[in-house]
Symmetry: D2
Amino acid sequence: MAKEELIDLAMTRDPRGVVIQRVGIKDLHIPLQIKKRDNGFQEVLGNVTLGVELPHKYRGTHMSRLVEIVSQWSRKPLGGHDVRLILDQVRNKLKADQAHITVKFKYFISKKAPVSKSVSALDYDCEFTGNLSNEGFDFILGVEVPIATVCPCSKEISKYGAHNQRGVIRARIRYEKGKFYWIEDLIEQLETLGSHELYPMLKRIDEKYVTEHGYENPKFIEDVLRDAVVMFRANEHISWFEVECETFESIHNHSVYAYQQECLKQPKLR
Amino acid sequence: MAKEELIDLAMTRDPRGVVIQRVGIKDLHIPLQIKKRDNGFQEVLGNVTLGVELPHKYRGTHMSRLVEIVSQWSRKPLGGHDVRLILDQVRNKLKADQAHITVKFKYFISKKAPVSKSVSALDYDCEFTGNLSNEGFDFILGVEVPIATVCPCSKEISKYGAHNQRGVIRARIRYEKGKFYWIEDLIEQLETLGSHELYPMLKRIDEKYVTEHGYENPKFIEDVLRDAVVMFRANEHISWFEVECETFESIHNHSVYAYQQECLKQPKLR
Amino acid sequence: MAKEELIDLAMTRDPRGVVIQRVGIKDLHIPLQIKKRDNGFQEVLGNVTLGVELPHKYRGTHMSRLVEIVSQWSRKPLGGHDVRLILDQVRNKLKADQAHITVKFKYFISKKAPVSKSVSALDYDCEFTGNLSNEGFDFILGVEVPIATVCPCSKEISKYGAHNQRGVIRARIRYEKGKFYWIEDLIEQLETLGSHELYPMLKRIDEKYVTEHGYENPKFIEDVLRDAVVMFRANEHISWFEVECETFESIHNHSVYAYQQECLKQPKLR
Amino acid sequence: MAKEELIDLAMTRDPRGVVIQRVGIKDLHIPLQIKKRDNGFQEVLGNVTLGVELPHKYRGTHMSRLVEIVSQWSRKPLGGHDVRLILDQVRNKLKADQAHITVKFKYFISKKAPVSKSVSALDYDCEFTGNLSNEGFDFILGVEVPIATVCPCSKEISKYGAHNQRGVIRARIRYEKGKFYWIEDLIEQLETLGSHELYPMLKRIDEKYVTEHGYENPKFIEDVLRDAVVMFRANEHISWFEVECETFESIHNHSVYAYQQECLKQPKLR
């Protein structure tokens, strides 16, 4: 049977009169290139979710075309501009008013140990989210930055020591119109907000520094969140942010968290 | 050193002028009782996240009081009314304008196999979300219902057979003011929306029925979502819903999904 | 078509001549009762994997009978004796030489805060593993105990403070013939092996104690593991153990771990 | 304080007399290059666990040296030979009798759709495990291959249709001395064992083929496992294998599984 003869059920008329806000593919893995701040590109493992608005008249969308479009970016650079290109293609090929994408990936950044200056690369979970409709293009950058917090209360009330633990800052930002922000810039700003930074490789001389520096900078999760909020409010490149801090308490078997979302400027879609 | 003499750093004044929208405890496990539709209670394993708004003047909140309040509900019934009671206590004890809670748990419902009528209990992930502020009380019920879909396109174009797979409907609803909706009712409505239902125990005579019934009711993920939307729009007990369907395609290594969120009536907080 | 007329493909002869070591059901959820040391039972959420050896002559096993047998234990007590009963039934009903089960569940134990004596319940992941064959019955108890470690090196080389973090001891033991060991006993022994214990609820006076106690008891992961090994070797109730310690380092974004497995006595199956 | 003056607590004598079988780092992420069968290398995201045996006399190992050694392979080719080189370095630098490594990564292989011949890349979870001691070098290759199964019983007893679902074959093999086996070869062999293969991109003409081909090749999980066992037994390159098949049943909310492990030849370590 020739391909043309196979009926296309997705294109049959749907009687329910329901516009579907988003329908598509989820958790498709694909290798991608991410542009680095210094120069060149970093190859990453991408996890893609890509969907479209479906007009009420069609019964289904064409999932294979979504896979086809994304596959063209395999092992190719993917920046904000490319996210928009993908969504443009999706809107055209699927005749959709809106298209939406999320791309998650782990990104490495070289770090120097504070004293020995030994270099090693730390991994950060990152995320691009894009939305394209007749109203314009919306882009969100997300990062997860591991931190550590030394508890101020524990330090204050104890004769010596202070409980501390690993935590994470999960931040998402919308750029102000015409502005741009590197992943590296966002991560570097956020990872100073804990009591001390994390490193893959630390010599003893570094461990001494990190321990003492952390003890000198005790922070509640409320402190970390507020410092992030103050930092975001002062950032002219950003029109909106969402931030959640979570620490995996070493004295409990549960976490503590703090959350904030603020619209700093009226959104102007591109 | 007496307890009273230990300084309470959380209560010191904070200079940053930032009201924190939500701060608290996360992923605390506790056994709870959930009221069943027929009668009695079901003991479940709860996962609790509980947070408060923190005024700008205080440096921190009192995490241990949040644990203390939740712990009172250990092995006790927890319904929408109790969710409100918890948030009330939290607001009072922590002098907070807003309080927010999420409780996740796995809930069992007995199912009869379609032909043999053998009884077994299927598990569903459920969630209560509550928010209490000066503007009133907001409650959301969430359920995850496993389904199966038989692909209409695959059935239509193939000489025989049709690919099918497990999937899930994740739905969250806001009750209309003064209305109530049982977990069982919501789940029973949603699990009819796939091509066929799932059961822990099926005899061969049931497997025959389920297979044939599924083949007679092929459904795209778009069909499942639209049927859910139509069902929610017609439901007078509901003022808002959010629904995501996802199927773990048997011909791909990725999922397909469909998503909708609709406000059916202006929210009237209780 | 009557049930009896439906062909049972599983019972057809298989030509490949391969005895399957284990085949069955996995990740079936069921509520269970676990006997407590003090008295009474605790209701838990069980996750069951149950399999049998399949003789070379049969093409398949009867999965629905496995579900049927397990379902009889729904909301009923499940101890080592019941594990054996289940495996006995499985062997009989499925005419299998061997049967194997794993049951995972979260178990709560009440803990008193060290100074205020406030009571709250901490959750522990536990596991029963049973195997029954012509050679006898084998039973393994597994527990995961959250701990905290204060780094001795960091304390030693730093002017003040010491990095610390949450970790976990994952231990599995085989009882010596005729001996018995409570979950509570095993957990209580293991949770003293970290620098300090974890609690759901701590008042400031407790936090002071825990912090100072941890600082006074710094432990490498090697120390925790060795103390566990020494403890197990001295335990007459145990004929075999496996233990893994892992700590979620607060100065790194990776874990450190230590692992040991020892057969203390020749296994005598019951 | 100079680096040299910092005491090295790990090297202090330990009084407990316990040789630790394995201690080291876990879940360290690092980008790596994997050699492809056709030619060239594929960059992957690696997850590394690396440990050593610790003599009874030392209190601790040097975790930072483990990180240092692994970091040298960042963005460099990693094959079986390199795994051995890493373990050699680890043994030398840490004066350890034994060293052990596990490297997990997602690997892409291009697949042609069965009729349209459209090309897209499917992702597979893979794993290298290496062990080096005075007795020699042991290497294990592990892969996870997604499959689909169409139920023979459901097909046999139903008027039309048959339930089917996604599943996975998790296989680990030891090479026979002096033999070698490509990841691609192992995956290609295993993925023919389901009812049909999976593809990221399928046109309708392919979906028709895949559906019909699956319906013509119904397989119990027992069939998949036995075919894998027969295949491994006939493979001269392999001295040992372990295989688990699991399918995510579309008529149940649990999985079914089958497991086998066989030593085909006496191990001769390299």
